[in-house]
Amino acid sequence: MDSDWDEEVTSDLHAGEAEWTKMSSEFTNTGYREGITAGKEAALQEGFDAGFAQVGVPIGHELGLLRGIASVLAAFLSSATDQGQEEARSISSALSSIRFSDIAPRDLEAEEHAREHLEDGAPELEEIDEKKKMEDLEDMLNRLSAGKSLRADEARPTLEDLQHLRERLKNLMERLGLDVERS
């Protein structure tokens, strides 16, 4: 009958199509993998330089300056037995507990891209997660050694806290009659 012949043709056609698909996706995937690696390597330095100059340096500089000022005031005032001593110490210790991750702006592009991956079902940005985990662990140990109860909701300092500390430091310096920037 005709039908036998027909079937053979269709199955041949299917086999050919499957092979075609397999071949095309194999080469496309290989290209994709190698392209990803090349693209990533080519862009790393550019990203590094941008993050360095636009985010890391200005924030680090600002926080470092405040810490330097506060630590001198704390030391200087304790030797001068001034009433500002307590304030200087409190500012200094609050400043020293601030981490970069507390005050760093979000990388919106990275978050957006991670979301896209989540929709695809592939987790991303493990490195950042690692660091976050380490910091959480550190927090936990600090609370333990401080004898405080283990409370996960104990808040990390925020950008507002930093601004508040900056104000307090400014007030303290004005009270002491110190002009740090221009003398």
Partner: protein, 161 residues
């Protein structure tokens, strides 16, 4: 039918190239994201330390001015320290000028030792930070490159210092 045999022969290459282009774009996004995360951390780490020294020096300077004290040795250290810090780049030098003669690790060593000299002149027990970073600066250059900011070999291991 116009059948291009040539293109059929290069079909594998065409598929590969197609995938490669796609991957290249996606990889670039990841490279930028990962690079930014590393660069932020490094820039913060370096300038937090330098900012501390700067704030430290400027505050002592203000205290001396306020007290009308003329301590020439401390004043000298403060001037030098602030001058050195002002020379420190706020951009990764690898991006602006690769032939730059600026020796970053040398400059950082000079800054740290000037800071320690200032501390001992002031009689302030060089703060914890001085002790910390002193160990870092003196011991480490021998074992690992002090600054990997020019990311020349961007493999995972090299980047995550």
């Amino acid at each position: 039918m116009d059948f291009d045999l040539e293109s059929l022969v290069h079909l594998e290459q065409t598929f590969y190239d197609f995938g490669y282009q796609d991957g290249l774009e996606h990889g670039r996004i990841h490279g930028l994201i990962e690079g930014r995360a590393l660069g932020r951390e490094k820039g913060f780490e370096m300038w937090e330390e330098l900012g501390f020294y700067e704030g430290f020096a400027k505050t002592w300077r203000a205290i001396y001015v306020k007290q009308g004290k003329e301590d020439s040795r401390a004043g000298n250290h403060i001037r030098h320290l602030l001058d050195l810090i002002s020379q420190f780049p706020k951009q990764n030098p690898s991006s602006s000028d690769s032939s730059s003669s600026l020796d970053i690790s040398r400059l950082l060593r000079q800054i740290r030792s000037r800071y320690k000299a200032l501390c001992s002149t002031l009689g302030a027990a060089a703060s914890l930070r001085a002790a910390d970073s002193a160990d870092d600066s003196v011991e480490q250059p021998a074992t690992r490159k002090p600054f990997v900011w020019p990311l020349e070999a961007p493999t995972q291991q090299d980047l995550s210092f």
